[in-house]
Amino acid sequence: MKSNRRKRTLVIGGLVTSIGAAATLLAGATFGFFSSAGVSSGSNRFTAGNVLVGLDPSGTQVTCAITAMSPGDSQASGTNAACRYVIKYTGNVNAFLALDLSITGTAGTPTTPYGASAPSAAQGLYDGSANGLQFNISDGTNTYLNGVQYNNQSGGPPTPLTPTSGAASVTDLLMNTTPVTAGATRTLTVNYNLPNTAGNAYNVATSTIVLTVHAVQADNNALPVGCVAGAVCSTGMNWS
């Protein structure tokens, strides 16, 4: 008799469990099982960094708009001044900086010089020749454009920056081989000179040069062997 009662109890218990399981599926009910809510927890937080570079708001920027230049004029002439831009890196990961130069120009209207015939118009005030506008762009340590030449990646002799229809550009002039960190600044100075040898071919010609500094993460982005500050560094380098 006792044996029969025990067996019946087990059967009833099994039924209750089955019903409970069905209720869990349908209504999310819980049993009264012993459990732990999970006192052991781990919080794992991952945050990406950023790469930001721009003009230093606390720096003194000198934007040039030099008009009516005469042969022999330079940043030191009259009220002229060197163009100057203070760059500040504000990203929170290590970075490499590079400088892009873009020149555009418009041909002028040559007039007949005294004692000679009218020359052909130069394609712009900067035309890549020794007679047109000359630039010296540096950050105090590296020179990026010297007269009309820049340094290429191969390390050979300087390369002329020769425009077509007044336009020329060079990109990825490396500014640092040691990664910069947040707060680092660089001052780019643009000195200029229109040689005395410029003739009437440059009458009323203009040129505009735009400097663009960009940055890329230095971690997991090694500089290619051979890249030096002041020269182009693009082959084998990821700038974006």
Binding site: G20, A21, T24, L25, T30, F31, F33, F34, S35, S36, A37, G38, V39, S40, S41, G42, S43, N44, R45, F46, T47, A48, G49, N50, V51, L52, N92, V93, N94, H214, A215, V216, Q217, D219, N220, N221, W239, S240
Partner: protein, 210 residues
Amino acid sequence: MTVGLFSSAGHASGSNAFSAGVVSFGSPVATTCTINPMSPGDASTGWTPAGADATCTLQATYSGTIPAILGLDMTITGVAGTPVAPYGGATPAAAPGLFDGSANGLQVIVTDGASTSFVNNTTYKNQAGSALALSATSSVQGLLIRRASFTSGTTETITVNYQLPTSASNAYNSASTTIDLVIHAVQANNNSLPAGCAAGAVCTSGFNWS
């Protein structure tokens, strides 16, 4: 009223004590792993290939007095960053978090000491064994740590390895993701695991976690 019938005051009664077991963890542990700031290409030391950042671990010692089944819950939350224009391109739309379930966002591998994998890059397994995608805001409950029950003093270590692919773009600038892991336990006795429940996968249907 009493009569003169033979009687006895009764034998000494037996003492029957019942004591319930407990399901608990010893030394409650809450760990925090903060990786900041990450750059594309960064990875933990346990990633392949190994990076330089620390692997995150969560260790728990089961201290209950009855055998238990352990489960792992995971919650992912993300905060979009502030993309800037990349060099030579337009500003991309912000990713919803550093982990966004794509191949470009944060990749995560969550395992235990027995090489059971709970998260493989951007997916986890449901109870049927199919890989399901996680998103920037996901919540997964009842990942079975192992089929065998834990006894008091058994330690479980959950490991989180990660990598931010080099294909991550400025869409992820300053984005962040938090992955919260919670280990919980339930009695193993009278609470059998469904046949299809496998370690590393969700085990909720037909199983009682409480």
